[in-house]
């Protein structure tokens, strides 16, 4: 058996050495938490990777590892990428935060970009998207389109990102109609089309006539299409799945950010930064407005433009918490720390947050 191994090794070594090592190319690695076939979070990050390949062609070489569990495996995979000569490594899920920092400490020359975390170091940048800007816009649309004044919200896990989205949505809705209500169902999964469909059905049966979601698959949109209610796409434009029901979608677009960071690396100007991009940075993009009257679409466009220019901030006071206490006074804006760690609902959410 050992001989066999040795023979195979010798053969392969020769071949591996023979394969021309591409020199001078900048190598960029990606770690995805789901399969790229999830049609959601990881899928969109992979689009960003492809955008890098398109923009830089021969100058770069990208590789990725998909379906990496956020447990003991993460650190090994990230380190393997660093050891394989990658110059820039994107780790695209919150659970990769501490492993990324640990590996970054051991490989000071390699640059790291961690998505959605809050810890940085000299060679670790963080980036995230202000999806709540898009949620505010769709909240307004929902208020215009809803007849029952009840929106069904399918949520994945109670993390600040998701809570922030629910709040922004409701604040947007209430800015049009103060009576708007949200029903929330947590499916405790990013990734179970069946459960997402069940949750959508339950919400519609309970009187919601608009469905929105913070889970990955288009299953809920399909249910909305069948039941004849409206819905919003998530992560990518899902119009194919709901041609008659999708009003718009909040699209995660990492392309521009990824291309910029690679460009900075190529120019020798890469440094550790903290980016929280929204409409202005084109990280959050609204899909075309469909199935809605022109005046509603105009309103949505205006709101988005106002948020983009900074004229409007979704979390500008006065904002009241679910228990009636005031979260922020008139005219002030919630600070970044509160936004980042948001764990309370605004008034009008029909759900309790696990504390």
């Amino acid at each position: 058996m050992r001989k066999l191994f040795a023979a195979a090794a010798a053969l392969a070594l020769g071949l591996a050495a023979g394969a021309a090592q591409a020199a001078d190319k900048v190598k960029i690695g990606f770690v995805y938490v789901g399969p790229i076939g999830d049609h959601g979070w990881s899928y969109q990050h992979d689009h960003g990777r492809l955008a890098i390949e398109k923009a830089f062609g021969d100058k770069v070489e990208t590789s990725y590892v998909e379906n990496v569990s956020e447990g003991p495996d993460a650190e090994r995979v990230i380190e393997k990428l660093a050891r394989s000569g990658n110059d820039l490594i994107f780790t695209t899920s919150f659970g990769f935060m501490n492993p990324t920092l640990k590996v970054a400490k051991r490989y000071p020359k390699v640059k790291f970009e961690h998505a959605t975390g809050y810890k940085r170091s000299k060679n670790v940048s963080t980036y995230a998207a202000r999806f709540y800007e898009g949620r505010y816009v769709i909240g307004q649309i929902a208020a215009k389109m809803s007849k029952t004044k009840t929106v069904g919200y399918i949520a994945s896990f109670p993390i600040p990102e998701v809570v922030r989205g629910i709040n922004a949505f409701l604040l947007g809705a209430q800015s049009i109609d103060p009576d708007m209500k949200i029903k929330v169902i947590w499916v405790n999964s990013w990734f179970d089309p069946g459960k997402e469909a069940d949750a959508a059905k339950a919400l519609i049966d309970q009187g919601a006539d608009i469905i929105t979601q913070h889970t990955d698959s288009p299953a809920a949109l399909q249910v909305a299409e069948e039941r004849g209610v409206f819905a919003f796409g998530q992560a990518s434009d899902m119009i194919k799945f709901g041609p008659k029901s999708q009003l718009t979608a909040i699209v995660d677009d990492w392309s521009e950010y990824y291309v910029n960071r690679v460009q900075a690396l190529l120019d020798g100007k890469w440094e550790s930064t903290d980016t929280w991009g929204g409409f202005a940075e084109k990280m959050v993009v609204m899909a075309p407005y469909t199935n809605i009257p022109a005046d509603v679409a105009d309103m949505a466009k205006k709101t988005a433009a106002a948020i983009e220019s900074g004229e409007l901030h979704p979390f500008k006071g006065p904002i009241f918490k679910q228990d009636g206490s005031q979260a922020i006074k008139e005219g002030e804006i919630l600070d970044a720390g509160t936004l980042l760690g948001m764990n309370w609902y605004v008034k009008g959410v029909d759900d309790k947050l696990p504390q």
Binding site: A8, L15, S63, N188
Partner: protein, 359 residues
């Protein structure tokens, strides 16, 4: 074509060694074909997959890190399976061990002492054992089948962990993200080599292998396990208690899974997070049977499976072979090993006029 098997009088010692070699050869051939068809250089792919991870010390250490929990859980499960107890809830016992053991570094985080880590391991073992005792007691008291109870309890354990790290146990400085506070140094698993990820879990795994090996081969308890597993009625006549054995098997394997859990948390992860296992508890079932329920075999099986994971990752990074392909390839590799095991106990004959075909 018909394949006929004939039982050997004695397991073939030649085949014991030859069958893995045959399995590897067949895997290499299939792999070459598969990778070739997908447009990769077959030799290079196989090299990256199976050989390269064995050539540098970093990969070897990572191999050990990955294999340790699999072996630890696997040897525990071998007690269950040998005594005919279908524990498929090791993932849950692993999780409960991690939860109970983490009480010290998460709730009593100010208490740092040399005793912290040993106590965490003890609590981890306790957590796993107690959680393992539930299906055992349900089986003894109510005759509730353990396949269902142990599997369903796994989901309960995972959701409990999820609740804790998103609720009461979340890091107060963590902006409400789902993670516990980082463990203090006293609560971290000691490394076997300075600055290495290779932690003391590997040592635990080896000790467990030796201990269970002795249990099976040298002790009355081991004899009892075999007798009750093979012929429960004979065990009854010998005065062995089936109920006590059920409890013993589940609690021992639960304890080992619990230790694996707390060490994973205190070692490679360093905090409690919603996901602490990439399915170790399920993979360990394969490891247990791949190792023929023999502790030494389980050690090798754990290492082999760990290699296939590392190889799969390397193949993604170096060559762009997709994770799906790696997974399918892993399945094929396991098939060959399992099928070739047959040669140890049986003569295989091809009875047909048609042309022969390799197994």
């Amino acid at each position: 074509m018909q394949i006929e098997l004939q039982k050997r009088a004695l397991p073939s010692s030649l085949m014991t060694w030859l069958s893995p070699a045959l399995a590897i050869t067949l895997t290499v051939l299939t792999g070459a074909l598969m990778f070739g068809m997908l447009g990769f250089n077959p030799a290079q792919a196989l090299y990256v997959y199976f050989i390269a991870p064995l050539l540098d010390s970093w990969s070897l250490q990572e191999l050990v890190v990955k294999a340790a929990p699999l072996v630890l859980i696997g040897v525990g499960l071998s007690i269950c399976y040998r005594s005919n107890n279908w524990n498929i809830g090791a993932e849950g016992q692993f999780t409960m061990g991690a939860i109970l053991g983490s009480i010290l570094p998460v709730v009593f985080y100010q208490w740092e002492s040399p005793l912290t880590f040993p106590l965490m391991v003890a609590l981890g073992a306790l957590g796993g054992a107690l959680f393992g005792a539930i299906p055992a007691l349900l089986k003894n008291k109510f005759g509730a089948n353990e396949i269902l109870t142990s599997l369903m309890l796994t989901y309960v354990a995972l959701l409990t962990l999820d609740y804790l790290v998103r609720g009461p146990w979340k890091n107060p400085e963590g902006f409400n993200f789902p993670e516990s506070r980082l463990f203090s140094d006293a609560a971290l698993a000691p490394s076997l080599i300075a600055d290495s990820r290779m932690h003391i879990g590997a040592l635990f795994a080896v000790i467990a292998v030796i201990a269970i090996f002795i249990l099976f081969s040298r002790t009355l308890k081991g004899f009892e396990i075999r007798v009750l597993g093979a012929t429960p009625r004979a065990g009854n006549f010998a005065g062995f208690s089936k109920e006590r054995m059920i409890l013993f098997a589940f609690m021992t394997s639960g304890a080992l899974a619990g230790i694996a859990g707390i060490i994973e948390v205190a070692g490679p992860i360093g905090q409690l997070t919603p996901t602490i296992s990439p399915g170790y508890g399920f993979t360990a079932i394969i490891v247990a049977f791949l190792g023929r329920l023999n502790p030494i075999g389980i050690l090798f099986a754990g290492l082999l499976l760990a290699l296939s994971y590392l190889g799969g990752e390397a193949a993604q990074i170096e060559l762009g072979i997709s994770e799906k392909t790696s997974k399918a390839f892993q399945g094929i590799l396991l098939f060959y090993i399992l099928a070739c095991d047959t040669l140890i106990h049986y003569h295989v004959k091809f009875v047909s006029s048609k042309k022969k075909e390799a197994v």
